[in-house]
Amino acid sequence: MVDVSKGGAPGGGVNLTKGQAISLQKRDGGTLTAVRMGLGWQAAPRRGLFGSRTREVDLDASAVLFADKQPVDVVFFRHLVSDDGSVRHTGDNLVGGVGQGGDDESILVDLARVPVHIDQIVFTVNSFTGQTFQEVQNAFCRLVDETNGQELARYTLAGGGAYTAQIMAKVHRTGPGWTMTALGTPANGRTFQDLMPAILPHL
């Protein structure tokens, strides 16, 4: 567990490393009510006939809601709002590339409204267009306090490898509050369904 006030991310939040966890308590001791998981990426430039040729990469962010290791609901580009309304995907971005700190896809979690039996929410990223993360640059996921826009934690997908998905992070209940843990596990799959076997060990 890491004190949120330390750390050197550009946003003032914590630059997480794999496996690291932070408690989602506010500095003033209050609990967070709403967080946003933002995902940003750019297609890596590829050398083509005209230098600047890049292929667009469609990454998709998903969130899976678990109750005691049972998947209960999932939020992704075809189901943008969890049935209970607590988790919302702001919409699919097919090309990425806003880059430089901007989020290309966001998933909002209203922590106060998450149903009582949901104890973990796992965030994943898939390459829908099938490119591996080698063809993606500047990809990151970050957790933002939605009430004031402050970045709480950032996790960079450094040195993309030959895989098409990442299990980025999970937010889980600890006592009355929530904790975020960076997972950063590579996996392969086009949508979150393909990732279920890879997610389960992290619950």
């Binding site: 003032g12 049935d83 209970d84 309304g85 009582v116 009430t147 826009g149």
Partner: protein, 723 residues
């Protein structure tokens, strides 16, 4: 700490790395130009735009979007650059979007540091015919950077703007930018709007009714039913203003008008299709919902305030204004800083009309649908939690049973007790959350219900006593009430969009209805006809004089008593048609009408219709189907059901499906194409978000009330009055 700038005002900046956030109600293009010490842009390579998004120190989006965030590093900008202008433009592509900033919400721009802390903000008000605007300017002043609110608009769009900046190739570049944007638009969804406002505006249109939501928790996927075809990327573009186009004209001729096809595979379930009216398109709704992060659990105790003065809009700046007039869209609820948590112990009392919309009518409509969704979702959370608690307890009890140790002494009992306690604790927790939300929604319903206009109001609402024939057609009509078993007191008005997109079927059959007391089929038939009359009267009442015509087919004359209010007041086009000849006559006339209008629409010559043609919307009430119908008449009826709604001809079938069983599967598409309503409470309607089965109750005139008679008399009087 935020400086809210007005036009021309400047503000010093202490850091070079910044983010510029832009929120507009509609997708816009964002670009930036770099200027030299004379303020001129020397060449196209000094312009960042969707076709060439990156310049040293800044980057813009490749797409048009309602919201933009651009990262700016003024420290990385070349020395020669003394000025960075951030410009906004409406996409020129296709003419689908708005043509000028005067008709959209005033764009809002904010300069933040990397923490997201707002340093300066500026709402660009006062724009009119401009389609491009310089929003902000960063400029060097004595070695430091400052930002200025500019707000200079250009009626000639990007070309004029770029020309004004001294760029020789302005027209060429503007064309290139628009092409780049058009390509982007064709390929991708516009970005969601306003991420800082946690309201409904960001929600895309709800998925098809009762459709497979794709998640593992999907309910009600009846076996063998193919999954609902989900369009790629599922949903209407968020943030795009809905285009409430009438089904007339714009529609390709011959295409059934229902967005949810009448042949929807969902409709194959036995109890009639769990289909419903089209969901509201992206109904935006301001806070006061239980999903509002502002209402923290601690502060959720609602205050059922102002029951009578309810129709007051949330605040005056969002009050209804006649559309078309120039309006200052200074974001009515724009918050310049992060939303503050409410003071503990206080929740905002609910207010009627507390939702987005152009008129009170629309705001109430959106609010009601918002309440509908909130209730659906909070109930989904509750039911899901209870289901989980159930299955967990079952599993634990099974384990205890199979564990030999539990047979010793009291161990098993203690373990069983613990499992039950765990169950009770979770269910209690879930119930507490549900009760909190129900209390808030109930308080909202208590202020909304009395504020509803006649079209949305129950028949016992006093608003009906002050009824006047309206000047325009309302957005929607109340067909009844919906509720869920866990909250029988909380009634959500079922508002169906006008003009009707599907015909109605008032089910006089016995199957499936909850009311055990209406087992007498004769009673049920009479009640069904009374329900039909109440719906028809409401339709007549909410249309301006002469814009809605009702025909009745009552082959055996069995509904004379129920039809009396319509007949007596003289609001019908003609006396109810009787016998096979009457049936054939009415059907033939309406079929001809559909053909004529379709032909005219197809030929693009709507004004070539014969002069005698009644241009009003037509409703055909059919009682006792299939009594008096031959094969030809049945074919005509199906034709009317399929083709009618698009050209303003609607069906209201009062029928028991069993009685038409002789036709076999031939009529299945007919039933599925109609919205099934019942004369008694029945739980056959599904919401579009979660798919709960809601108990529907029709909106009926209270026994002994004269209100129907009074309203219809006024309708009849207005009709005969020469206009």
């Amino acid at each position: 700490m935020t400086a809210e700038l007005v036009r021309g005002q400047n503000h010093p900046l202490s850091q070079a790395r910044l983010e510029v956030r832009i929120a507009a109600g509609t997708p816009i293009v964002v670009g930036a130009t770099l200027g030299d010490e004379h303020g001129r842009v020397p060449g196209v390579e000094w312009v960042a735009h969707p076709g060439a998004p990156t310049l040293p120190g800044l980057e813009v989006s490749r797409q048009a979007a309602a919201d933009h965030r651009l990262a700016v590093d003024l420290g990385a900008v070349p020395e020669a650059v003394h000025r960075v202008d951030v410009l906004l433009a409406l996409p020129a592509a296709g003419g689908a979007g708005p043509a000028s900033f005067g008709v959209v919400a005033a764009p809002f721009v904010a300069v933040t540091d990397l923490d997201g802390t707002e340093l300066a903000s500026y709402t660009i008000t006062g724009l009119d015919a401009e389609s491009a605007v310089v929003a902000l300017e960063f400029y060097r002043r004595q070695g430091a950077w400052k930002v200025r609110a500019v707000g200079q608009g250009y009626g000639g769009g990007l070309a004029e703007l770029l020309t004004d900046q001294g760029l020789a190739e302005a027209h060429h570049l503007a064309t290139g930018i628009n092409e780049a944007v058009a390509q982007g638009l064709a390929r991708s969804l516009p970005a969601p709007s306003r991420p800082t406002d946690p309201d409904r505006s960001r929600r895309p249109a709800a998925p098809a009714l009762g459709g497979d939501q794709g998640g593992p928790a999907t309910q009600g996927a009846s076996g063998g039913v193919p999954p609902q075809p989900v369009p790629p990327y599922g949903a209407q573009a968020p943030g795009v203003p809905p285009q409430p186009t009438s089904p007339y004209g714009a529609q390709a001729p011959g295409v059934p008008s229902q967005p949810a096809s009448p042949y929807d595979p969902q409709g194959t379930s036995a109890a009639g299709a769990p289909q419903q009216p089209t969901p509201p398109y992206g109904t935006p709704r301001q806070p006061a919902s239980p999903y509002d992060p502002q209402s923290t659990p601690a502060a959720a105790a609602p205050q059922p305030g102002q029951p009578q003065g309810a129709a007051v809009p949330a605040d005056s700046s969002s009050a209804a204004q006649p559309s078309g007039a120039p309006i200052d869209y200074a974001h009515p609820r724009r918050q310049s800083a992060a939303p503050q948590p409410p003071p503990p112990g206080q929740a905002k009392p609910p207010v009627a009309g507390d939702a987005a919309g152009w008129s009170m009518d629309e705001r109430l409509y959106n609010q009601v649908w918002g309440m509908f969704e909130d209730l659906a979702r909070t109930m989904a959370a509750y039911r899901s939690a209870v289901d989980f608690a159930d299955s967990r307890m079952e599993k634990e009890l099974d384990q205890i049973l199979s564990d030999p140790r539990s047979r010793l002494g009291g161990q098993g009992d203690a373990a069983r007790e613990a499992a039950r306690a765990k169950y009770a604790q979770l269910v209690d927790q879930a119930r507490a959350v549900l009760d909190r939300d129900l209390a808030q929604l109930t308080a909202e319903a208590e202020v909304v219900e009395p504020a509803l206009p006649p079209a949305y109001a129950r028949w016992d609402n006093p608003v009906w006593h002050g009824y006047r024939v309206p000047m325009e057609v309302p957005m929607a009509l109340r067909m009844g009430d919906l509720h869920l078993a866990e909250a029988p007191e909380l009634r959500i008005p079922l508002l169906v969009r006008l003009p009707l997109e599907r015909g109605l079927w008032i089910d006089s059959g016995r199957a499936g209805s909850l009311g055990g007391s209406f087992t007498d089929s004769h009673d049920l038939g009479r009640l069904a006809m009374e329900t039909a009359v109440a719906h028809a009267a409401r339709l007549l009442a909410v249309h301006p004089a002469g814009e809605f015509t009702v025909h009745v087919i009552d082959p055996a004359g069995s509904a004379a008593q129920a039809l009396a209010p319509l007949v007596r007041t003289g609001v019908l086009a003609a006396p109810p048609a009787m016998g096979a000849a009457g049936v054939a006559d009415v059907l033939t006339r309406l079929t001809e009408r559909v053909d004529l209008v379709q032909m005219a629409v197809r030929a693009g010559a709507a004004d070539s219709l014969p002069p005698g043609l009644d241009t009003a919307e037509q409703l055909l009430i059919v009682n006792d189907f299939p009594h008096g119908f031959d094969d030809r008449a049945v074919t005509q009826l199906r034709y009317l059901a399929d083709e009618g709604p698009a050209v303003g001809v609607h069906l209201m079938m009062v029928a028991d499906r069993e009685e038409a069983a002789g036709y076999g599967p031939l009529l299945d598409p007919l039933w599925r194409s109609l919205l099934r309503l019942t004369p008694v409470p029945d739980d056959h309607l599904a919401d579009p978000w979660v798919g709960h089965a809601w108990t529907y109750e029709p909106s009926l005139v209270p026994p002994g009330s004269e209100v129907l008679q009074q309203v219809l008399s006024q309708v009849a009087r207005a009709r005969t009055k020469p206009t």
